[in-house]
Symmetry: C2
Subunit: 302 residues, 2 copies
């Protein structure tokens, strides 16, 4: 239907990235803009998109596929969540396709909403596409660390279930808006401090967090560690807690945990797994675009 090229757009709350892919999914060009959804006024999404990908003139009629919070209530097109299990084929079947007034064809990938055994819901928008770009063999646990870290149980390329931990969001709130702010303003990198926080978090299967948090205050008051290590200890404590919670969620899945994320955060989690003696590997970058390509192919867009 076209020359096989595809434009992929990863549009989140605070970032915009787009790539031009060839017929086998290789990335030919890329753009990045500080044009997260929150910065778009009056629903003017198309002008932002056109400005960003305008340089790819030869691809003016190429299909576009988009994922991320762009399909949430505050995005361009709100789509209903899909349930579990779901993989590239289910996501392809649930694409929401529009044609803009200017004649651009865009397919939006929706997110997932799934309930655990207790009936409690969890949601994701964007991560399902990153996971679709991985498709590790067999059963694996995949982590996408961040503000709201996703832990995903994947089997044969499909998401069976997942669990979100509010790690990054809680880290920022506790660091800047509790008594710990008195000692986190000046922070220094300290791998051993991070490791000690990590061990504290992982202890007792992740229980005791409200007490462990206060000990970061008491410890610096009592001179057990330098105040400027507090932020690193807090980061370790929360990541250690998150990992202990994930082990309870998915004990004994085969193969190393797969880490998907930006370079800095992926390295922090890789270090955490190493310290805790848990096998882990970091996935190649651009999982989101690989997932978009796979879903587009499954849907016959290209």
């Amino acid at each position: 239907m076209t020359d096989g090229r595809l434009i992929g757009v990863d549009w989140g709350t605070s970032s915009f990235r787009a790539v031009l892919m060839d017929g086998v999914g290789a990335i030919l060009a890329r753009v990045e803009r500080p044009a997260g959804l929150l910065s778009v006024r009056d629903g003017a999404f198309e002008p932002v998109l056109v400005e960003a990908i305008g340089a790819w003139e030869s691809c003016g009629r190429c299909p576009i596929i988009a994922s991320g919070m762009v399909t949430s209530r505050t995005g361009w097109v709100e789509t209903a969540y899909l349930g579990c299990p779901a993989g590239p084929d289910e996501l392809a079947g649930a694409l929401r396709r529009i044609e803009t007034p200017a004649g651009r064809r865009i397919a939006f990938i929706t997110g997932l909403a799934c309930r655990n055994a207790a009936g409690e819901p969890d949601v994701m928008r964007g991560e399902e596409t990153q996971v679709a770009g991985l498709m590790p063999a067999g059963e694996r646990l995949v982590v996408l660390p961040g503000t709201h870290s996703k832990w995903v149980h994947v089997a044969d390329g499909r998401i069976l279930r997942f669990r979100t931990a509010m790690t990054g969001d809680v880290f920022a709130a506790v660091k800047d808006h509790t008594v710990l702010r008195l000692t986190t303003a000046v922070a220094r990198t300290a791998p051993e401090a991070f490791a000690q926080g990590l061990a504290s978090g992982a202890r007792d299967a992740g229980a005791g967090l409200l007490g462990k948090l206060f000990r970061l205050r008491a410890g610096s008051l009592m001179g057990d560690f330098p105040a400027e290590e507090t932020a690193e200890r807090l980061s370790g404590l929360l990541i250690g807690t998150e990992i202990a919670e994930a082990r309870a969620f998915a004990p004994g899945l085969g193969g190393p945990v797969v880490i998907v994320g930006g370079e800095e955060l992926a390295a922090r989690y890789q270090a955490a797994f190493d310290r805790l003696g848990i096998a882990a590997e970091t996935a190649p970058a651009d999982a989101a675009f690989a997932g978009q390509f796979r879903i587009a192919r499954s849907a016959g867009l290209i």
Copy 2:
């Protein structure tokens, strides 16, 4: 040495309270000021005190006893922490006594710093005096809920050990500075929602908090509960977690848990204990002044 009367001052970071007590510790008069330590400029503590208790002219030479953060680094007189175990007699023995230029005699009660079996420190300033005002018979678990809730293991009127949970501080930070702020701005009282949060927090011995927090977001997104119940659910979740942590800290102490605190918070914790089927009783108000009286008497101030 005097007519047996005593002035008690409970001076915290954000509040100032003082009472005039007779020779048996009964409260004859009281004042309250919004003059917390943070509001005192240039170390001008004495003028604040004199203004507040100035109306008690007949007691111009009465001994004064003070407790709370007034003995911290940001207070009037910084005192070294006392270790555990400690009760009224040990606190009396550690009083720091000063005479001001204007001739007022003030005795400051210091706080406690104690380490748990793992060697981790915890601290309190002010709560030791409240506990000294209780002295329940035998072994008991006492909770002083708040920004930094204290759980205190008391035996024969002395503090054996204690544990702080950062509950109130984390509640405010998470409510106002994470994604949950989108649904906590408008809050409504909802006892059933509080109870459900409580049950979630207490589950799994308090583990899983980072995931449970995100489910408050997912639950309102999925319409499982009205958005305006989020704050109550969050309050329940954190208090339930705190109580589960405390049970691991001090399992099976004899007798009901003793709640010490302001009316509203004490009622919230009493409701939490009732819901969880844990025996609890709320202590009479003014435990701090009762403790000051007891310590003053042990020290021979009156």
